[in-house]
Symmetry: C2
């Protein structure tokens, strides 16, 4: 592997890049004024009267959250997007991020350059700047963590804990493409049309955080990362309420519909889509339908999430997604 564009090591085989070179050549171009050219140990964020700063931090691990061999520009973009999804679900506007990278020696300059390229691409897409961070060596797998910052008007952050009995449960778009996307990325789902498979892989690798959708009027919200049923359950638990969700009301993509219709057990397949993770839609509750959302159930007194199909309660063997080893 050699670096494709102007690269600092001259005519030598790829070696472990120098941390200071990586910062100076790859990261500094990404930096915000707040980062002081990444020449400091810290960034400084001026207070913004009338606004609250929303902060979130998610980490991703090679072999757990992304498949080994995934191009590193895509990994960088997914790292930002899973965090941006949390910012979106809080009703906040993205501002900037801190980054921690643990690099094994096997990743040379070209890999790190690809990673920085992915960051730059999504910084442009989402109007984001790098505030700083840390780069460390590791004998283990690649691990990245990002701390994302967003602004929201004071007191207006949409929490998980605001759901009230009588609210409508709503989602911002198709559910289950993350679950199917992982299978497609592993080379499965070969019965599906190639364009559908490609769309699923793209969704899994480069999800779309729903920063485009407004949450005005929402009582509670969370992004769908652990799986719709698990994330709805987090809202229920944080709010001290229960939810009923009608499986047949949950919106499903064309690919998802094709996958459901090719199976024998419709209930199991609908349940799998609703339990799978990595969708990065938003599940919200509120007294009225929110523009752009689909109503899938309602908030009631009690605890837990009750799933129905055709009005009858159904039992699902797996209602939450836990990140296992993708191996």
């Amino acid at each position: 592997m050699r670096s494709p564009t102007p690269s600092p090591p001259e005519d030598v085989p790829e070696v472990v890049p120098d941390e200071f070179d990586v910062i100076a050549r790859l990261m500094r171009p990404l930096a915000a004024p707040e980062a002081l050219d990444l020449m400091d140990d810290a960034a400084v964020i001026p207070s913004r009267p009338g606004f609250d700063l929303v902060v979130t931090k998610d980490a991703i691990v090679e072999g757990v959250h992304f498949l080994p061999g995934t191009p590193l520009d895509l990994v960088a973009r997914k790292l930002l997007r899973v965090n941006l999804s949390d910012i979106a679900a809080k009703g906040a506007v993205p501002y900037g991020y801190l980054l921690a990278c643990a690099w094994p020696d096997s990743i040379g300059w070209s890999g790190r350059e690809a990673f920085a390229k992915g960051l730059a691409e999504d910084q442009a897409v989402f109007g984001l700047k790098l505030f700083g961070g840390d780069t460390v060596a590791t004998p283990g797998p690649l691990i990245f963590s990002a701390t994302l910052f967003g602004w929201v008007e004071s007191g207006q952050m949409v929490k998980r804990s605001g759901a009230q009995a009588g609210d409508l449960v709503q989602v911002s778009g198709p559910i289950g493409d993350g679950y199917l996307g992982l299978q497609a990325a592993r080379g499965q789902l070969e019965h599906l049309d190639a364009p559908l498979r490609a769309a699923l892989i793209a969704h899994y690798q480069t999800p779309q955080p729903r920063l485009d959708i407004a949450l005005a009027g929402a009582h509670a919200a969370a992004d769908v990362s652990d799986g719709l049923l698990a994330d709805a359950g987090h809202i229920a638990s944080a709010s001290g309420v229960a939810m009923e969700i009608a499986l047949e009301a949950v919106p499903i993509s064309t690919a998802g519909q094709a996958w459901v219709s090719e199976g024998d057990d419709r209930q199991a397949r609908l349940g799998a889509l609703a339990a799978g993770g990595d969708d990065y839609q938003i599940v919200a509750t509120g007294p009225e339908p929110l523009p752009g959302f689909t109503v899938i159930g309602r908030v009631i007194a009690g605890e837990g999430v009750c799933v129905t199909l055709g009005g009858a309660p159904v039992f699902l063997s797996q209602t939450g997604y836990r990140h296992g080893n993708l191996g």
Copy 2:
């Protein structure tokens, strides 16, 4: 290994702890109001008019930044302290932190409980609260990253980039105990008295961030984590100036003095202490001596760091500390 105190798994062998149990039982007691009981995906930090938020993020890796087998309460405390050291060097007051933990399956409940205990201890010491974060599984070594937040009066953060020719270069305390502490922690330095060795190990494992010392009047500052000469060099580079540092003026602990005096090459040993890392003192520049600091040199026009001994320039084979594999 079994958990020593009230532990959730009843009479069963230790298994991989459930992430939600870890959050609910170990992390929630550490959480700030801003963390919404860790029941949300994000924390919310209200703006504080008149103040800037200082943010910094450092990661530590088992086998790179701490020795395998180090008790996890000490690892937790070191994680907070290396980040607090950055906050201290910026003249800020600690506020809270986000945490990302990558746990291998080999670390069971008791290990995670020890880690949480260390966090709790240092939260009490430093008046700090947990704002949230992420817990992931990894097939590799333990990796932790923390994002630390601190407050500073608007525009008053002490940067690396403010040094001016004519400033005095100053340090907040003994240099080299981090370098010797790593050796002592590895079982080396057996010639030193046992109490000195124990103090060095304690310094390496649980460094003291210099939050107790004021930076009023400083033009520039950085914490000494990469090594005095490297960190002074960072200030010089960010400020567009050079520095002269007199090796014999650099303060050294009793243990450091004992180690220097038992060697043949005084210059090399003084140089090793000044180049070693993990001291977590503060190196600063300013027109006047700062209370509690020791003057070790001066800022001049040019670039780089020139080291002298007895007035004559000396050449050091290693002027910067790079974290290698501690193996």
